[in-house]
Amino acid sequence: MVNKGTIIYEPGNSINNKTGSWRVFKPILDNDKCIKCENCYIFCPEGCIQPDENGDFKIDYDYCKGCLICEEECPVKAITGIREEK
């Protein structure tokens, strides 16, 4: 629940705001095509593309706003933007 007057006493709690909720487009990453160049990881302005323990890159859809910069920057077209379906 929200504090009275929307006051924040604990820093860093904006992680609770699932800012991916206003996405219009959604990037889909095909790990079979991916060459692990880390371009998407570097260029993502939200920092929500991270490698997992196997080194496969995963997109965190809780915070991805669908800007599709990753799709633009991927040299091997491993990322495709589709329309968000809710």
Binding site: V2, G5, T6
Partner: protein, 386 residues
């Protein structure tokens, strides 16, 4: 020995702020509120009141300074009117959303154009949906009493909302009446210290106020303010009862006041100083053996709909007098808010816009009209030139 001063409404408001020992005042002068901030500046300058008086360049800055001051946990007071209140509009939402218990005196005055400094209630009615609690005073004594109560209501932890105490411009602000000034000790004892648990300035415990609320959260925050308004209904009554006990002055139940409604089949509903005129007319007609009633609304927001319904059981004709108009609907705000809850024949009368005099004859004309020829939900402008 009671301390009675013969003072104007603006002075009564200033005295009340002094008695409540406010910490910060930020206000910009505007007719007909000016004399109130002049008085407060005097109090601060001559050491009668230990407060910070912030001089600002506009009302927008005044209310912003108040929000900032209140955010540190200071008891804050401001005063304005008409165009000044309109200029505060966007920050009024912030003050309520941030749950800042600011107390404001608003001198009701018409809005331009044409420019007009006289009384009607369009300015505060236009701020109806900001989340502020709105109380309307009938006379100068009630102004002082309501402002003292306002601090206690606003700072109650189940409420924590800003309060606007409205008094009719010139009719009250510039009219001298005898006002009983209670002892400061007694008032401070009644109001208590403001010790906020939600917003304060403490470097060892920093906080963020006025943060972003995205679609995930925004609706809940609005609902919180609505619940605080609901709580306020109870708190206003409680504070009023405590005040009546301690100071010996009561105003209905604190939310509404009924006058001779028991036997009356025709009841008038309105707010502010107009109630005084109507009470006189009711007394005159009573002497002739006719029974009419008045329902005075003190708390317009939160609106005590249940109490209003209860008070008007068995009434046949209801006249709602509005000193404001929703242009394009041809209805006053009080009518649009109250009429849906009433079963009786209800007509709307637009009166006194821009300081047009409302005489006893007009009240009698309204009574006659609502009894005989008025149709349900009809609107009639009173005192228009042919």
């Amino acid at each position: 020995m009671q301390n009675v001063k013969v003072i104007t409404g603006t002075s009564a408001a200033a005295e009340a702020a002094k008695l409540a020992d406010v910490d910060v005042i930020a206000a910009y002068p505007i007719t007909p509120q000016t004399t109130s901030v002049e008085k407060l500046a005097d109090f601060v300058a001559n050491g009668e009141l230990n407060a910070e008086y912030i001089k600002v360049e506009s009302e927008h800055s005044a209310i912003s300074a108040c929000v900032g001051a209140s955010a540190t946990g200071a008891r804050t007071f401001t005063a304005t009117s008409s165009q000044g209140l309109a200029l505060m509009h966007e920050i009024l939402f912030a003050a309520a959303g941030m749950r800042m218990p600011i107390v404001m005196m608003n001198a009701n005055r018409a809005l331009s154009a044409p420019i007009n400094i006289w009384n009607d209630q369009q300015d505060s009615i236009s701020q109806r949906d900001t989340g502020w609690i709105q109380l309307y005073a009938e006379n100068n004594q009630e102004t002082l009493d309501l402002i003292i109560q306002a601090f206690k209501i606003a700072e109650n932890e189940n409420v924590l909302l800003p309060i606007m105490v409205n008094l009719d411009g010139f009719i009250l602000t510039h009219t001298v009446e005898p006002v009983e000034i209670p002892e400061k000790e007694k008032v401070l004892n009644f109001v208590g210290q403001y010790e906020p648990k939600h917003a304060y300035l403490r470097p060892e415990k920093p906080m963020t106020q006025g943060a972003l609320g995205d679609p995930e959260w925004y609706m809940e925050t609005r609902y919180d303010v609505q619940q605080a308004q609901d709580n306020a209904l109870k708190v206003i009554e409680e504070v009023h009862d405590k005040f009546a006990e301690k100071f010996g002055r009561a105003y209905g139940n604190g939310l509404i006041e009924t006058y001779n409604t028991e036997k009356a089949e025709t009841v008038l509903i309105t707010m502010g100083s107009l109630c005084g005129t109507i009470k006189d007319v009711i007394d005159e007609l009573k002497a002739e053996g006719k029974e009419y009633g008045l329902l005075k609304i003190i708390s317009y927001r939160p609106l005590p709909t249940e109490q209003i319904k209860e008070a008007l059981k068995g009434t046949k004709n209801i006249a709602i007098l509005d000193k404001d108009i929703s242009l394009g609907l041809n209805k006053g705000a009080l009518f649009t808010d109250v009429a849906p809850f009433l079963e009786a024949k209800t007509a709307n009368y637009i009166v006194g816009l821009g300081g047009r005099d409302i005489k006893k004859a007009h009240i009698k004309e309204i009574i006659e009209h609502v009894e005989k020829e008025a149709k349900d939900t009809e609107t009639k402008w009173i005192g228009l030139k042919e």
